[in-house]
């Protein structure tokens, strides 16, 4: 009884979708609680009852199994939606457009040879270098500047705000800055007031248009970097700062020699988190240029093939995965260190 799309396609017939949604919440939440409650009950009362001659042994056994009862739904969903796709995508990428057409590594070979892919890869490289660096730098700057400000929290909250806005919404917002019309686009208005006659379309300036797109993501992510780095700055022990000041450190030295080294770990975390994000976001390029004018990046390049050539699409996706892999391993190593 899977609700199908056809069910909601009747015109003016809104209710069923919402009812479906509410029903799903009830079934989902009720099902979860029911599952956890009943499975625990079953374990404790039926399979390994805590009474009779084996009571002690049964309690132990039940306690060995219980974690897996708690974990099962999560492991199942994670396995299905995130672990299986890694293998599934790789496997699919070895086939051509049709799922029965084995091509081996042909998709990868053709991608490597295609100009568009090389362009997308190069652009993505630019994004990975520029966006995390700029967002982290600006975030750190704002965090430090607002640290002792009486209205610092308001300022932070306003700079943090773009985090709530969708990439699509943000792209539209920036269209009002970049528009090829001095009466709509802020950039062209400023150009016009400086005496340049003809408006320019910044989305069509080769190479540099990539940077104009990056500005949008930097605008969104600076708030994230700021929040985390601001907390890290607050966490620096006062004594080290006091000692530095007594030793005659000037504010610059204080910041670069004392504070930054102490929050280096957090800076790296922020940097890598934004790097990962850069490799996933296709929305901005998709809405602003549709990948035209030499602005394609890997995630948007993949969507060009989605629904058209699954083999090629999964190959691009797997390449993104390979690029992400070092960060993933580094994260796991860090997390394990943390736990010990």
């Amino acid at each position: 009884m899977a609700p199908r799309a056809g069910f909601v396609s009747l015109k003016g017939f809104y209710m069923p979708v919402i009812v479906q949604g509410l029903l799903t919440i009830v079934i989902g939440v009720g099902g979860c609680i029911g599952y956890f409650y009943l499975s625990n009950l079953l374990l404790d009362k039926v399979i390994f009852p805590a009474k009779g001659e084996n009571a002690g042994r049964n309690i132990n056994r039940a306690n060995q199994i219980r974690p897996w009862l708690f974990l099962f739904p999560a492991i199942f969903a994670l396995g299905l939606y995130l672990v299986y796709p890694v293998v599934g995508s790789f496997w699919r990428s070895l086939y051509g457009r049709s799922p029965s057409d084995w091509v081996g590594f042909d998709n990868y070979v053709q991608l490597a040879a295609s100009n568009e892919f090389q362009q997308a890869f190069f652009n993505n490289l630019l994004w990975v270098i520029v966006v995390p660096a700029m967002a982290t730098f600006l975030g750190l700057l704002v965090a430090q500047l607002t640290d002792k400000l009486s209205w610092g929290n308001i300022a932070k909250s306003l700079i943090f705000m773009p985090m709530a806005i969708s990439f699509v919404g943000a792209s539209l917002i920036w269209k009002f800055v970049y528009a090829n019309d001095a009466d709509i686009g802020l950039i062209n208005a400023i150009r016009a007031s400086l005496g340049f006659g003809n408006p320019i379309d910044v989305m069509q300036i080769p190479f540099w248009n990539n940077f104009f797109l990056m500005v949008i993501l930097i605008w969104i992510q600076t708030g994230f970097a700021m929040v985390i780095l601001s907390a890290a700055l607050r966490g620096i022990p006062e004594e080290t700062i006091e000692a530095a000041i007594l030793d005659g450190a000037n504010p610059w030295q204080l910041f670069f020699r004392i504070k930054v080294p102490q929050i280096m770990g957090t800076i790296v975390v922020v940097w890598t988190t934004i790097t990962i994000l850069v490799l996933k976001v296709f929305d901005i390029v998709y809405t602003m240029t549709g990948g035209n004018f030499g602005t394609e990046i890997l995630p948007s390049y993949m969507m060009d093939f989605m629904f058209r050539d699954d083999g090629r699409a999964t190959a691009v996706a797997f390449i993104i995965m390979i690029v992400v892999l070092p960060v993933m391993i580094w994260n796991i190593v860090q997390a394990r260190k943390e736990m010990r």
């Binding site: 199908r4 919440i25 969903a77 699509v168 539209l172 019309d181 802020l186």
Partner: protein, 383 residues
């Protein structure tokens, strides 16, 4: 402490000013969108949103429709240009000032206001700054008056028309409801699943626990792109296809790593005494979880709920892949990116309004629950 270093006053001025500059820079784009969403289409195309509070010169087209009087050697029509039928509705708020006029569409501002223009065939036309016009003709003009173009100062106008259009005519109402329908189950369901798992990973001892935690950390960064093709194919084989059920399941799966990770990090920090004394008192793990852990973890649960809400509300990728592409099931992001930007690319008022409708709810959530969001961010970044 800066006092000690003796730099207080100078430096704090610089700090204040640079923060003001940064905040203004950060706000300008959003303010532009917000202002534009309240402006009329005509006004948007002739002046920037930063000029919205000022009058603009607009060109109008109308036709004289006063009484025709015979006079010596011809006919005369008099009246006020602002009262003519074709433009009357634009000047209901009061008369304006005509700066120039013309009789041909290619040169709508050929003559300055007040001049008597020869417009051929022995006809003359005069439009004054206050809007009065005099038209004379040697021959009987017939029942259609002369075509008049004129340029007038138009006072700033703010309107809710864009909102009315977007919310009724453009299908954004349906898209709004669809977004809500996708978002709520996709936020609620992963929380419970993740909470149980997080409890097991935080407070239960079993072999392989460290490995599972490492797996969750690893899955945090798996690109969603990998899941698109295999999962869509699987959904199709299972008969779910592209549907709301499919996207709920997908969002649940994709949201779980962060949920488990966040909640486990928080639960691990709960005081051990409470948990152990409850165990000593004979509470089962299930009771302990429901009665003690869940209520105590409220801040982390709220943090994740906000994350997941913002993420699913703002998502374009998953919606494009896992929902059908018909109008009935489009969510707002897809609607804006595919429909409005494509077919109505030039209608800036509609675009601005649609964008603002789609970001209004996240902004409200953001500003009311920022506290939880910040806490979640701090717990969520791998330290």
């Amino acid at each position: 402490m800066d006092n000690i270093a003796g730099h207080k006053s100078g430096l704090s001025w610089v700090t204040n000013i640079s923060v003001v500059v940064l905040v203004v820079l950060w706000l300008i784009p959003t303010v532009g969108l917000f202002v534009s969403s309240f402006r009329e289409r005509d006004q948007i195309s002739v002046s920037g949103w930063w000029q919205a509070p000022f009058s603009v010169e607009l060109t109008y087209r109308t036709r004289g429709d006063g009484e025709v009087r015979p006079v010596d050697g011809g006919y005369v029509m008099e009246g006020n240009i602002f009262d003519t039928g074709e433009v009357r509705s634009s000047f209901e708020g009061g008369a304006s000032t005509v700066s120039a006029f013309g009789d041909r569409g290619v040169a709508p501002a050929e003559y300055p206001a007040g001049t008597v223009a020869e417009i051929g065939d022995g006809e003359t036309l005069q439009v004054n700054a206050d809007g009065t016009y005099i038209y004379t003709s040697v021959e009987e003009p017939g029942n259609r008056g002369p075509r008049v173009y004129f340029e007038a100062e138009t006072p700033p106008q703010f309107t809710l028309d864009n909102y009315r259009n977007v919310l009724t005519a453009d299908g954004m109402d349906r898209a709004f409801i669809n977004t809500l329908t996708v978002t709520i189950p996709a936020t609620v369901i992963p929380i419970l699943i993740a909470a149980f798992a997080a409890y097991a990973l935080a407070w239960m001892d079993f072999p392989g626990r460290g490995l599972l935690i490492a797996l969750v950390v690893g899955l945090l960064v798996v690109p969603l792109q990998l899941a698109l093709v295999p999962m869509l194919n699987l959904h199709q084989r299972l008969g779910i296809g592209q549907s709301f059920l499919g996207i709920w399941l997908a969002h649940t799966g994709f949201g779980l790593p962060l949920a488990v990770y966040l909640l486990r990090n928080y639960m691990v920090g709960l005081p051990r005494d409470i948990i152990e004394s409850a165990k000593v008192d004979g509470a089962t793990d299930f009771q302990l979880f429901v009665k003690i852990i869940l209520p105590l973890s409220f801040p982390a649960l709220a943090a994740f709920a906000i994350f997941q809400f913002l993420w699913t509300w703002n998502d374009l990728l998953v919606a494009k892949v896992f929902l059908p592409s018909d109008d009935a099931s489009k969510v707002m992001t897809v609607k804006i990116a595919d429909d409005l930007l494509g077919s109505r690319g030039g209608d800036w008022g509609i675009l601005a309004t649609a964008a603002f409708v789609s970001i209004a709810v996240p902004l409200v959530v953001f500003f009311t629950m920022q506290r939880f969001l910040v806490r979640g961010l701090l717990a969520g970044s791998v330290k």
